[in-house]
Subunit: 531 residues, 2 copies
């Protein structure tokens, strides 16, 4: 993983000339004056951990698994939000952990937590490092240091129960590793978020991830039937049945807890038979409103496709609906929808036929498989594009929300208007024509859906300040419009205030009560999730 | 509702002669020596609330809504488990509340909670009064009194959002009332537990109910998209979207909290279009094991019917699979399964055809609609039968659990063997041939299912002690076999110890931490849920 950007450096994206022209002519983007910092130029503070603390940590996990070389520290600094990347590109390593720990077992995690509680060392559980909400930037204030607790050694498929269709998997497994191990048994999780290539199962659970095929395979939280958590106070072991009426579902308190309550060390996940067939197809709607009504009908009356998404006019025009092919602009393309079906033949045929009938009846024009397949090919490409855009002098970021269907138009307008207003004059002296705000509707449910926005604008001289102002405004707008602050990115640090407003004072008190009970010293991801 | 039994006294069931014969000859059941107490014979303690407390309560909800007449108190005493009924039939009113409050608004509930916290009065939220796990028997110890907080005045359909397919309903609505109000909009919840005729929406939510059509409509907890809760510390307002990644799902902490954290005063529920068509059909399997494998295949490969259940040999033989027609015994009937389909024509046809193909391929013999329709007609009749059985001198009770598919055979055996051993010699002097233990598998999921047991045995001279011994043994057996202590009845008082073992010490500490934060005086349903 590129330390200052996304993914495999060998796969870096080039911006096609039409995109460069759009940036220049439409958005007023100019090459940045300063080049990005090199790895060697990153400024790091000296590791803060005292010798007695280090000695205890070495005892806990073995000396070979306590690292504090620059490489390890830089690669565990922050996540992959645009502000994170802007800081890394500027050579700012101020939020690097003092050490990186690589425990090898549940008991070693318990030991690390005991040592850290004793010495007041903050612990940041670290999976794929792909947080885009500041979920890996713990507060240092009042602590003797900060360590990243990397779960990379938790990488086994522990067991497969094909009768129950449940697999026990370790949280440090990256999604492609997990899929490969399961494929050996003819199984799949079916979880394909945009972070798929790097994110880990533990991160999916801790941040309530939702994948692009959630219409068919469900969200990650739907897949978790059992979970083991190491906390400073001991072990939590939850999940004896698919569903239970035995009290509150405490699994749902662990899911979304973002490392603030404990460290997930084992997951029992529902698995599915690997699909015999996969079909992705494109549909055109003349308006986002009309397309939304059609997707709603499908979500409410079924049967559900495996993938169902709709890009608005702007996203369709720019071609971001097919990220691998960006640049082939079409000004009158309407709104592209993708419907995908995975499963065995008869089931795929039935769902496809019924969905097609509904989409057609509500104004959809069938475009054949090409746009669907193009989307599927390019589905993990967008984060690579961001690196190229940042280098070219553009600010690009994504954000997402969800609400009930009747609230979608208001939420859609609120986010677009707020971003346009906040980023309208990127540079007083510049020729920028305001931001480009694109959106797709995805992750449909019977009662609502998520909206996922991508915003593109010219960098000012202070791109971090520029985005922070816009982000504050849009967080507030989402709250006022009745949306949740995140449908699948999580809370981290960036959504903490908005999340507090969403669940109210008493909701925050519940989280604090649980936190204080499980983590009395407050060492777990301080500053994340809980205000 | 009959004060000492189930439902409408006019619908009281008669035991057919074949059943009487079976009770007599096979189980050694004899008419009880003592007749059941009459309403006037119930022994009540004098209401304990002091004049200042009563004055404050009257101010909180209005004098007309504070009742402490015998009728109100007796009708709010305990729930509807067999031990509850045995105590009522014996004239034991010792657990009656001192008063019954009928608040009319969220603010009035908040006021009641403030008054009760101030005076240390225990509060039992009361909906339909149908708990079968001791969920309505709060501890008096250390309290100035106990009040039942009856939500009967919370009986409105507040709003319907047909675009989002979400309705706001008040928690005191009984299920048939709610269905009737929704039917006016062409909608349904699709929630039909055995307690349907009397239970309330608030109770469904507070105890994580699951209905007989859960395969198609989901569990009640799946239906709750938003909830308002009055707590002694103020109001919780949760649910802005179908799903969210904004932290732990706090709705799932309220669902299943059984009144220990607060009082649910509003529910936003997912609704469905009322089905155009309903088809219920019967299938015969030669063994419970074979039928289980067939239902598992359907649950894992889909499409899902709306109803899917399988009675074991004993339940099929006795005819309890069709409770309205009990007594038509067939000794070689195998195992009866019922598959039901609700929806619009094409969808029903497809699911029916696919399910039938799977069931046939795995040994199911199609019996036509008659057994399915008989089941549907009699689906709410079993609790009436219980009254007749108790009067005849039999002890009859139900219990349920759930686990993953691979654990089903062990769990099934463990419960049956334990009940048989615990109830094997009902009376040292008697001719009893041990209990009759019957089971059905229902509420299927991809990863597991629930098992629902009915046990029938001759009463000893101490039927309460007889059942308590058996219940303790079977709770322990369920835990050892890896099942959850309840799939849809809840925890209450009867499952409290087993629940604590299931979630572990740290799980219990989480519940206590939340409880202490929301209800510092500990007035809400003390002794229920949380050990």
């Amino acid at each position: 993983m590129l330390w200052s950007g996304w993914g495999d450096p060998a796969k870096a994206a080039e911006l096609p000339e039409p995109v460069r022209k759009l940036l220049r002519d439409l958005l007023g983007v100019r090459e940045p004056a300063e080049p990005s910092a090199s790895f060697g130029e990153v400024r790091l503070h000296p590791p803060a951990l005292s010798p007695p603390i280090l000695a205890d940590l070495r005892t806990a996990v073995g000396a070979a698994h306590v690292r504090f070389d620059d490489d390890a520290r830089i690669r565990h600094t922050r996540g992959k939000s645009t502000p994170d990347l802007l800081r890394m590109r500027a050579g700012d390593g101020s939020e690097a952990p003092d050490a990186v720990l690589l425990p090898g077992s549940h008991d070693e995690v318990l030991r690390v937590l005991r040592v850290c509680a004793q010495h007041r060392v903050a612990v940041v559980p670290f999976g794929g490092g792909t947080s885009v909400v500041g979920g890996l930037v713990a507060s240092r204030r009042g602590f003797a240091g900060v360590v990243a607790l990397d779960l990379a050694r938790f990488d086994r498929l522990v067991s497969v129960d094909t009768e129950s269709m449940v697999a026990e998997l370790e949280p440090g497994l990256r999604a492609p590793q997990a899929e490969q191990l399961l494929a050996g048994h003819g199984l799949t999780l079916g979880h394909f978020p945009q972070s798929y290539e790097y994110a880990t199962l533990g991160g999916f659970a801790a941040a309530r991830s939702s994948g692009q095929a959630s219409a068919g395979y469900g969200r990650f939280d739907d897949m978790v039937v059992g979970v083991t958590v190491a906390t400073p106070r001991g072990t939590l072991e939850l999940g004896r049945a698919p569903k239970s009426a035995a009290g509150p579902d405490l699994r749902q308190l662990v899911l979304g807890s973002e490392g603030a309550f404990g460290v997930i060390t084992s997951l029992r996940l529902r698995v599915r038979r690997a699909p015999a067939e996969k079909v992705y197809e494109g549909w055109r709607f003349s308006s986002f409103k009309g397309g939304t009504a059609a997707l709603r009908r499908v979500a409410q009356e079924g049967p559900m496709p495996t993938v169902l998404r709709l890009s608005d006019e702007a996203e369709t025009m720019i071609g971001l609906a097919k990220p691998g092919e960006i640049g082939g602009f079409q000004s009158d393309a309407g709104c592209l929808a993708v419907a995908g079906y995975e499963g065995e033949g008869e089931d795929v045929a039935y769902r496809r036929e019924r969905t097609a009938a509904t989409l057609s009846a509500l104004g959809g024009v069938y475009l054949g498989p090409e746009p669907g397949e193009a989307w599927a090919r390019g589905r993990f490409a967008a984060p690579y594009l961001r690196d190229a855009l940042l280098a070219a002098g553009a600010t690009v970021e994504t954000l997402e929300t969800a609400c009930f269907w009747s609230g979608i138009p208001r939420l859609y307008d609120a986010v677009r208007l707020t971003l346009s207003a906040a980023l309208g004059s990127p540079d007083p002296s510049g020729s920028g024509g305001g931001p480009l705000v694109m959106c797709h509707l995805s992750h449909v449910y019977g009662t609502g859906a998520s909206l996922y926005f991508t915003v593109l604008t010219a960098q000012t001289g202070d791109p971090l300040g520029q985005w922070e102002t816009a982000k504050r405004a849009v967080n507030e707008a989402i709250g006022l419009a009745g949306g949740t602050i995140s449908h699948h990115h999580g809370v981290g640090r960036d959504h903490r205030a908005a999340y507090a407003a969403e669940i109210g004072d008493l909701g925050v008190e519940i989280l604090r009560a649980v936190k204080e009970r499980l983590d009395p010293a407050g060492i777990l991801n301080p500053g994340i999730l809980i205000p």
